[in-house]
């Protein structure tokens, strides 16, 4: 890219932005995760942190974003923004980037974030690093070091965007902890005027169909319990669901079980499925094909339960249990319930 123009451009771009995603009018956890990492980057740059909020009846969330570290919140609030359309959201982001050019811009690597960030980056003529798991500021240049897994997690690549601004990145959900709340923290709320008549929108939202029946989503839960071919049959997921429910975990699945029609695709963890990074990942009857590992090998603690001690997952796992999952999992559920029962008794004793 042209050096001179971009150097001047870089000087005009100030501050760190994060995209605060909302679903059905509620902020989702990535907003707080991005505020956490964004705050750290902003401090290293001695710059301000701003959050961008798009939706309908979402202005009330501005204070929560400020209390979790935003110095400024740009609010786009309009009935036509209630549901996500790539065209519309990316247009708003581009216009905002032109008006108040930021230096860095982080978005969540969620379905919405991944869709809108790539379109916005091209429209804003800048670079975008995908699905990053580590972010830092280079001391010499102030550039963003964006580290991301590639080749299904077999390679960590550091991406630099030297001559275009803002430097954009999408950030893997759960890669960073949530920002702490500071009650009463002050910040600026900028309400951006949204004029729908200016949009020649060629996409239309028709309706949303809920499919999760109240289950937690695998990408945003800090515990995931996954079942694989070792379940033997689709009803094996009844046990996985019971286990997940006891643990407060989301239900994941291997490709084989999804292909066999035992569980819907949204549960599939892996290269052709979805990527998760929970604190605790249970692999029950999953051998650990490279395609599955690609979706979960960055989990903090991995527990594998398998009859085959030589399975790749058993070797990768933090804790491995050799055995029949139909014996081991009920035993773990029993142990969890037992301890929880103990705790309840204990508490009631204390309160007496």
């Amino acid at each position: 890219m042209e050096q001179e123009k971009s150097a001047a451009q870089a000087n005009a771009h100030k501050g760190v932005w994060i995209f605060a995603e909302q679903r059905h009018g509620q902020l989702i956890s990535t907003a707080y995760e991005l505020l956490n990492v964004g705050r750290r980057l902003a401090s290293d740059l001695n710059a301000e942190l701003s959050a961008v909020l798009i939706g309908h009846k979402v202005a009330e969330h501005a204070q929560a974003l400020i209390e979790h570290g935003a110095d400024r919140v740009f609010v786009h609030d309009h009935p036509m923004l209630e549901n996500f359309l790539e065209e519309v959201y990316s247009r708003l982001l581009c216009e905002l980037i032109q008006k108040a050019p930021p230096d860095k811009f982080l978005l969540p690597a969620s379905i919405l974030g991944r869709s809108v960030a790539a379109r916005t980056a091209v429209e804003a003529r800048t670079g975008l690093a995908a699905d990053c798991t580590e972010l830092s500021i280079r001391k010499d240049s102030g550039l963003l070091n964006a580290v991301r897994p590639a080749f299904g997690g077999n390679l960590l690549a550091t991406i630099l965007c030297e001559n275009s601004r803002p430097e954009m990145a999408t950030v893997r959900p759960m890669a960073f902890g949530r920002a702490q709340r500071v009650a009463g923290r002050q910040g600026e709320v900028v309400v951006v005027k949204v004029e729908p008549e200016r949009f020649k929108t060629r996409t239309r939202f028709v309706q949303f169909v809920r499919e999760d029946s109240g289950e937690q989503d695998i990408a945003s839960c800090d515990k995931v319990v996954s079942g694989g071919r070792g379940l033997g049959a689709s009803k094996g997921f009844d046990l996985i669901r019971e286990f997940a429910h006891t643990l407060g975990a989301a239900v994941g699945a291997s490709r084989a079980t999804v292909d066999a029609g035992w569980i819907p695709y949204r549960h599939q963890v892996g290269l052709t499925g979805r990527t998760v990074r929970p604190k605790l990942y249970f692999a029950c009857g999953i051998s650990g094909q490279i395609q599955h590992l690609a979706g979960m090998s960055s989990s903090e603690v991995i527990v594998a339960i398998n009859t085959d001690p030589e399975a790749p997952m058993m070797k990768l796992a933090t804790f491995s249990i050799e055995g029949d999952l139909y014996e081991v999992v009920p035993a773990i559920i029993g142990e969890l319930k037992h301890r929880r029962g103990d705790a309840v008794t204990h508490n009631s004793t204390n309160s007496n």
Binding site: M1, E2, R23, F84, L85, E86, E87, S90, I111, R114, S115, A118, R119, T120, A121, V122, E123, R125, T126, L128, A130, D131, A150, F151, G152, N154, L155, A157, T158, L160, R202, T203, F205, V206, Q207, F208, R210, E211, D217, A219, L247, Y265, L271, T272, L280, Q291, S297, S298, I302, V303, K315, L316, T318, F319, S320, I321, E322, E327, L336, R339
Partner: protein, 269 residues
């Protein structure tokens, strides 16, 4: 009215045989086998299915890459695509998703000149090598067309618009998009068929035009390394996970007890 559809495909290393040089952290390309990006199989299949749904339609495949990328295009023809086109040349080397999106968009414009028009571009969700998922939306942005990613179903298609199901974290959105449009599809959208004998014959015989920067009329400041805002500064193998602990014990209950204790020590439960 029939549709002209273009599917974007890429030749990538086969997932199972990725080898990384531990000293340099770079790929040992000479040791790897290459094939059509596995996600592209769903994009190709969807293109062929839409062609079959609307009589008289045409579906082409387009790739950007080294000359051996022809293999991915011939595979697409074997699976039912009518024609294929390759964008290739040294000027395109080192393209990031921004520059790749631009080059593919220019290729689509050239196909539109040849075929009269292009109504729909289908990309896969992502490739299995870079895993970015950014090229589909980038192509849409460069063309200035509506773009919808994470598409799991094409419910309705006409010459004017598409009605799609887009996966969301908690369900799916039903979205309508005017044509021309760019969609990026998930594995869930179909079950790809195997190449037919007739397809394989066609693949063998097909003449695949190869377009360089000049043939495509691209702005050379937007392609290759020079045109890419992003560059890979460093590659490394991920840090090895710490040595695992095998839970011993006689009965499942004993093992469960030990495990739960460990997880409580780590404050995970």
């Amino acid at each position: 009215m029939p549709l002209n559809i273009v599917v974007c495909v890429k030749l990538t290393p086969s997932t199972a045989n990725i080898e990384i040089d531990p000293a340099t952290g770079s790929l040992r390309r000479e040791k790897m086998s290459f094939a059509i990006n596995p996600f592209d199989e769903y994009a190709v299949e969807e293109g062929v299915r839409l062609k079959e749904r609307i009589p008289g339609s045409w579906v082409g495949a387009l790739s950007l890459g080294a000359p051996d990328s022809e293999a991915a295009l011939r595979e697409s023809i074997a699976r039912g695509v009518d024609e294929a086109f390759l964008i290739s040349g040294p000027a395109f080397e080192g393209s990031d998703t921004f520059a790749t999106g631009y080059a593919l968009a220019m290729g689509i414009k050239k196909i539109a000149q040849i075929k009269g028009r292009v109504d729909l571009v289908i990309c896969a969700k992502q490739t299995n090598d870079s895993d970015t998922g950014q090229v589909g939306p980038a192509v849409a942005a460069w063309l200035g067309w509506p773009g919808i990613s994470f598409v799991k179903k094409v419910e309705e298609v006409s010459d004017k618009f598409l009605r799609l199901h887009r996966m969301m974290e908690d369900g799916y959105d039903v979205i309508e998009a005017d044509l021309p449009a760019v969609i990026a599809v998930l594995k869930e959208i179909n079950e790809p068929r195997l190449a037919s004998l007739k397809g394989k014959m066609a693949a063998k015989k097909a003449a695949i035009p190869r377009w360089g920067a000049a043939e495509l009329g691209v702005d050379e400041s937007k392609i290759g390394r020079r045109g890419s805002p992003c560059a890979v500064a460093q590659q490394a193998a991920p840090p090895a996970r710490p040595q695992g602990h095998r839970i011993q014990g006689g009965s499942p209950q004993e093992k469960a007890k030990q495990l739960v204790e460990k997880l409580q020590e780590l404050k995970l439960i």
